[in-house]
Symmetry: C2
Subunit: 478 residues, 2 copies
């Protein structure tokens, strides 16, 4: 039994607060290989619920789940040059098996575009075989230099969708459909508001034509890319020779997309909703939605009886946990709070007399006395309210901390304050690199919805004299 340690206040040191709560919230342990993570039940449970709900959403779009190998042989990886260049430094490479050297190096997948491309070449013949809309849930490996739980680890879990289409129009449409699906999912299940937009040429995915992204604002004002959707056009199909016979019986290259979200989403949840008491898990993806805490049941056995009765009743509809241990009430409450359980129900000897219990909200810490006969409907209502409250708080914060600027002096000042800064930007790669060097800010996206001046403006970067119609969001980012 671990004791609860003190959590560093988030206002004081956000990074330290984060590592404190992921550890004490029973989310992770560090793995024995540097930069790897162990997902404990409280974090893997979130991921399982994300999987379940996303699978339901995917199904509506005809997505079929498959599983491709972990390994990419050298010869396959070298086929798409832009792609290989983007991943090369991070590739974990298998050179031996047992005591034997392999003839060909094998990489552990950092993503699976080339594996899917190789598969598509085998199984596609005619336009009747299209579209193919595949997805896989898998582990991927990128040997990052600096790591951070959930946000950047050497192995992470994700889903990656890969599709092939007859036409460019259909593929482009699916790319957008998927980023919109992610955006709605973030709102509906994670209570996280996101900005949908397009990546600049410099920030787009290696090998992609267009990359769409959803960007969320963490409590410290920094941005977190929480999902992406890529349109490849025929980049991979040409490199891998993936053709189909069209209706006129002519060979054509397929049009492709890929899209994914990862266990980063768990990091996004923590940094969007957490507070100085620990993490706060939105009810729809909380592995435990309700903690039932018995208080002083060692002194009054009827407390346990009643608590068990409530547990059995609520379990039919909610994800419930019963704490019948002899730990002190204060410890039990703190433990539930630090682990982010949306609601807790406290039941002690005095409650029995009144046939009531105390329900405590994790988000507002409000305590509510509830008659046991009404508990089920009250709890349902409260879980929905918590979700709505978490979302609206995050949405307000995002709104308040997003600013327009039209000159580089203001730009630098606002970036320093960790704001999301919207500015006219010419999207030249050179300017983007220099801005990052000077301010620490990267472009997050060219947002889809924005009220921008109708006239072309001068690029925010002082050395550029370019006029531009594009407005881009800059921020410091994870």
């Amino acid at each position: 039994m671990k004791q609860l340690d003190k959590i560093t206040p988030l206002e004081q040191d956000f990074a330290k607060w984060y590592t404190d709560v992921v550890k004490q919230g029973e989310l992770i342990e560090y793995g024995p290989t540097k930069g790897t993570l162990i997902f404990k039940p409280n974090s893997f449970g979130i991921w399982e619920l994300i999987q379940k709900e996303l699978n339901e959403e995917f199904k509506k779009h005809g997505v079929k789940n498959v599983y491709l190998p972990l390994f990419i042989p050298d010869r396959l990886f070298l086929k798409e040059k832009e792609h290989v260049a983007g991943f090369n430094p991070e590739l974990a490479t298998i050179t031996r098996v047992g005591d034997k050297e392999l003839d060909e190096k094998i990489y552990v997948r950092p993503t699976s575009e080339v594996l899917f491309a190789d598969l598509f070449k085998k199984i596609i013949e005619s336009h009747k075989d299209l579209p193919i809309i595949y997805n896989q849930w898998a582990n991927v490996v990128r040997w990052e230099k600096t790591t951070n739980p959930f946000l950047r680890s050497r192995e992470f879990l994700w889903q990656e969708g890969h599709t092939c289409h007859n036409t460019s129009i259909e593929a482009r449409k699916l790319t957008k459909t998927m980023i919109n699906l992610y955006s709605k999912f973030a709102k509906k299940y994670l209570a996280i508001p996101v900005i949908v937009g397009k990546k600049t040429p410099y920030e787009k995915f290696a090998g992609a034509c267009t990359t769409y992204t959803i960007e969320a604002m963490m409590k410290d004002g920094k941005a977190l890319q929480t999902g992406t959707s890529h349109y490849f056009a025929q980049n991979f199909s040409k490199a891998f020779d993936i053709t189909f016979k069209n209706k006129n019986n002519e060979a054509e290259y397929v049009y492709q997309t890929s899209w994914g979200v990862s266990t980063r989403l768990i990091g996004a949840i923590i940094m969007t909703h957490g507070d100085n008491r620990g993490i706060v898990i939105p009810p729809r993806v909380a592995p435990v939605q309700i903690d039932i805490l018995e208080l002083f049941s060692n002194k009054e056995p009827k407390v346990h009886e009643k608590a068990l009765e409530i547990y059995v009743q609520l379990s039919k509809k909610f994800r419930v946990r019963l704490d019948s241990s002899e730990k002190m009430p204060g410890f039990k409450a703190a433990n539930s709070e630090i682990q982010g359980v949306p609601l807790r129900i406290e039941i002690g000897p005095r409650d029995l007399e009144n046939n009531s219990v105390t329900v405590v909200r994790r988000d507002t810490l409000e305590k509510i006395t509830v008659n046991i006969s009404e508990l089920k409907s009250v709890v349902k209502d409260l879980l929905d309210k918590i979700h709505a409250n978490l979302y609206s708080q995050a949405a307000e914060r995002l709104k308040k901390n997003t600013v327009f600027v039209d000159n580089y002096v203001d730009f630098k000042a606002k970036i320093k304050e960790n704001k999301f800064v919207i500015a006219p930007f010419c999207c030249s790669e050179e300017a983007e690199i220099l801005i990052k060097e000077e301010t620490g800010a990267s472009t997050r996206c060219i947002p889809r919805k924005i009220n921008k001046p109708s006239k072309a403006q001068e690029c925010i970067f002082q050395k550029c004299k370019n006029k531009t119609n594009k407005y881009v969001i800059f921020a410091r980012a994870y």
Copy 2:
């Protein structure tokens, strides 16, 4: 659109039949790295249903899902000698990242005992922390020399449960609980009868004290180990120093177990139920339970209307697929059969007049005319009947092909006929190796339930003069 090729008859060449049906049944493609597999929707869908149902069963025993890293650093792996010796030749080894050599070799997990042991050491302090009953769904890698789809591939998917207990009694009990759970699961969901038993010392898992197994008989008479459960006693806890404070506040080593089933189960399904028309998937784990085939809907548009109506109605309760393509009726039926869909519904212009459809069972090929108003209940009933029929056929085959022998001449003859042979055996390692060399048969298990003579018998192996009370099942195996 691939054409359907001919399937080699299973009586003629079972191995060739197997590779034909896994490929043509839309289960797999081969991966680009030798010995790896691509799970297409028809096989990954089976695995997802197995996951779902096993998770439900696990939950009843307090199992919590977690996820541990893919990588095992060299120093960790070397801690348990028997274990490392068992896996060493098969270990995929990472020595480089990008262009840099690593200081320490890293192995891709072949199983995760050592990773769990390392975790347990960190998180266990007191007897109040126990039991810990964790499970993970993961990919593991074993560089096998010869591979076979689902049965033996270099990467496979599985679940591995890992538990820690206060007492030996509790750990032993859980080991048995889990093998019984697997046995019931195989019957209830996969329609596969299995024999539950204990492995001989020679065949037990590297590092385990006792290994329980479930063994199934394939259609060619060979055995397939389909699930195992291991009792470790304190073997790993001593090697990894995993202690807890017991009720007297004394440090004690924990007692451990592990247990798992893998994507081998898909191989077991194919080789238990498949026939010369393709695979046959038991209804409870069939990704598609019912195929609805429109016949001549290009000539009579109302066929499509009606088929769609039936599709919408049945989809509420079953996993249904609608084939509205213009392919020929014979092709559609063959396609559904080769993919193992338990039921197909054929609807053509003539059926519309009678307000009926033709329902065809995959297992018996029986054709039944059903009035559309009764379709839902008939279909439900038929799916249950198919499950029961598949199970009873397999159970009869197992019974018929399991024989007792008491001398080595008969033993060799029966093994040659690919029977399961039960014989008195002293369980000496030397005898076991020699028998395998001479007959190709390995010990499958010491079965739990068996009618054996009360007197000790002479060991079946002629060179042994040992008397023994143990009866052991021998068979050729996958």
